[in-house]
Symmetry: C2
């Protein structure tokens, strides 16, 4: 097992009706920036619930944070915070709104040009503006971690960063909110969380026996509830396990002490930046082909995954191959198209474009063994056409 | 799934050689009370490592905290803290030392008679003295939770309490420390952690699907590494999974959103208070008989446990019964005697004594369904003779 530090000070407030605790969770007397996305919180009644539960607080609203939030939009929020002398940010939304608020929190007191936080991957360890979240779309785990991903519109770059000062102070997770979500977003949430686990699990056999068991538990739960929750989002047992699995998939716990990959995300982010494909769907396109191209170095772990999750038997190669097929089948069950050509007609130069971009950034070796070279990257992307 | 709040601000620093980070973890300029137990930290070199890594800090030592730490001893530490104007406590030891330090932390600024904290079960939510820990004996999970158990010597009462202000600020967990532990303590650690999981898992089928999977993952890991780590404590893979499993068994995570039992611990504490039997061994004596007496209301979960952990098949009753037998067999493999009469000759009035004591305290209904009456309590204890 690798050495690790586990620190996660977010207070997670999980369950039906927990939004009623909001006024106790927000710092007393704070002037609040209420940040949200495209306005779905007006349709599902959550905006009104927030207002009702923040009586007596001074609130400034900032809506319009996009899916794959734009640096350019978020900098407008930073200006509002400075002008209005805001003390605390409340993010109400899914991963994009929460990720966006983390960047806002980082940028407000940043000494320098905030675009550097993204492009130079600067970790924020102090002087962040405190914030809390109300999660409306389970998927990213952003409600209980300190990482975020922001897109620079001007350069079409989708970049990840974070820092120990960027944990939400609290996150309210009420599983009943998923009832009003479109089916497509529920599908995305399941596949996103599933792939988060895979990035931290599907590497090579190691001494993190307990970490593997916990990762497998999340995968099993998502396979069990995923297809059902999409059809019955009002079923509280399904909704709560879906939501809790999404948080546990990326709150930092399962990656402690073990290697992780993350190349599927790095490639997937490019597909979103280039073609606007939903984040989860890019993962469903890339993940299985990455396992195929890296088969020789991942097959031992693929076989463990195949045995424990899908009860497969056979040789290591047979189980590993079939485990990839089962994963693709699960993604299909979750409504994912798993080929790039199903999303865009203009895919033919994608591999070259992304390879060049990674080359320019100096990203020449990825994955848990740093053995995903630019040649392998090209092969993965072309296999995904 | 039940509503829950998850908050755990302890910074866990896990791995080989992590004690070197001690001087960065302790508040700069603090005057430190170094609290420990019977002196094993002198034999295994940890005391010297602590001193070496706290150069420049003013340190006052307080040794002699007993297994099942005594209120009377801990109050002496409270006096030392007041006299010496201590700012921070460093607990170096196992669960007893850490539990003792939590009580000390609670008592220093307590407004009233500190014995009330125990006897009136007062939860400490503010004004605790900050403390960190260096774990030398994996078992209790105290290094990453806010609960503790202290024995009042004068009344032979072993009482549990806690509070959100009593999380360690940090805990250093180096799995190599277990190399110098006696086999008996390693055995105890595995069974203690195993039973912690069982208290939070072995209840009835519920909607906490993910929580069950994680609990099962810890049980599987302990069954896998437990018998081996006792024989090969220098094997880092075994040691690290053992230590991490102990922390995860009782850091609060797996009990969120699900019912829990804890009656085995309540009864076990009495056996320790009465006969000085090791805590873990009292759990091995009581647990299986509690499952037998509560068979009708626990059998569904026993069957899930039997299927998933021991791959049993048959009817619910058959699997549930065999799962109890398998549990006893595992305890035997871990070197546990599982009958009270193997520890003391004077056991014949134990049931009556404990029933009276629980009756006096008003503890008349225990367990996840509150269906462990005093009659059932008597039956469990008599079955354990």
């Amino acid at each position: 097992m690798l050495n690790f530090e586990l620190y996660n000070p977010t207070k997670l407030v999980f369950g039906k009706g927990q939004i009623e605790k909001l006024s106790e969770l927000v710092p007393q007397g704070a002037k609040i920036l209420l940040a949200y996305g495209g306005g779905s919180i007006f349709k599902n009644g959550i905006h009104q619930q927030v207002i009702d539960n923040l009586k007596g607080f001074e609130i400034v609203e900032f809506g319009g944070i996009e899916p794959n939030p734009h640096f350019e939009t978020l900098m407008k929020a930073v200006e509002v915070i400075k002008t209005e002398k805001i003390d605390f940010i409340l993010a109400v939304g899914g991963g994009s709104v929460i990720d966006g608020v983390k960047f806002i929190s980082a940028a407000v007191h940043f000494d320098g040009n905030p675009i550097d936080i993204l492009q130079k991957h600067i970790l924020i360890k102090e002087n962040a503006m405190p914030f809390g979240t109300i999660l409306t779309l389970p998927a990213t785990g952003s409600e209980m971690n300190s990482g975020y991903v922001v897109t620079i519109q001007a350069t079409q770059e989708k970049l990840a960063s974070g820092g120990s000062a960027l944990f939400p102070q609290f996150s309210i997770c009420d599983p009943t909110v998923i009832q009003s979500l479109p089916k497509r977003q529920l599908q995305n949430g399941v596949v996103d969380a599933f792939t988060h686990v895979m990035e931290q699990y599907l590497t090579y056999p190691h001494e993190g026996y307990l970490q593997d068991r916990i990762a497998e538990g999340i995968l099993q739960t998502l396979i069990e509830v995923g297809p059902k929750v999409v059809e019955n989002p009002a079923d509280y047992a399904l909704a709560s396990n879906f939501m809790w699995s999404c948080t546990m998939a990326l709150n930092g716990l399962i990656q402690k002490g073990v290697p992780s990959d993350w190349a599927t995300h790095m490639i997937g982010h490019e597909l979103t930046a280039l073609y606007g494909i939903d984040h989860a769907r890019t993962l469903a396109i890339i993940g299985p082909n990455l396992y195929r191209v890296l088969f020789e170095t991942k097959k031992e772990k693929l076989a463990q995954y195949g045995k424990r999750i899908f009860n497969l038997s056979g040789t290591v190669d047979e189980i590993a191959n079939e485990a990839i097929n089962k994963t693709v089948a699960f993604f299909h069950t979750m409504g994912m198209d798993t080929r790039l050509s199903q999303y865009t007609e203009n895919y033919s130069k994608t591999a070259d474009f992304i390879v060049n971009r990674f080359d320019e950034r100096g990203w020449k070796a990825m994955g848990e063994r740093q053995n995903i070279t630019l040649e392998k990257l090209k092969e993965i992307i072309e296999m995904s056409y």
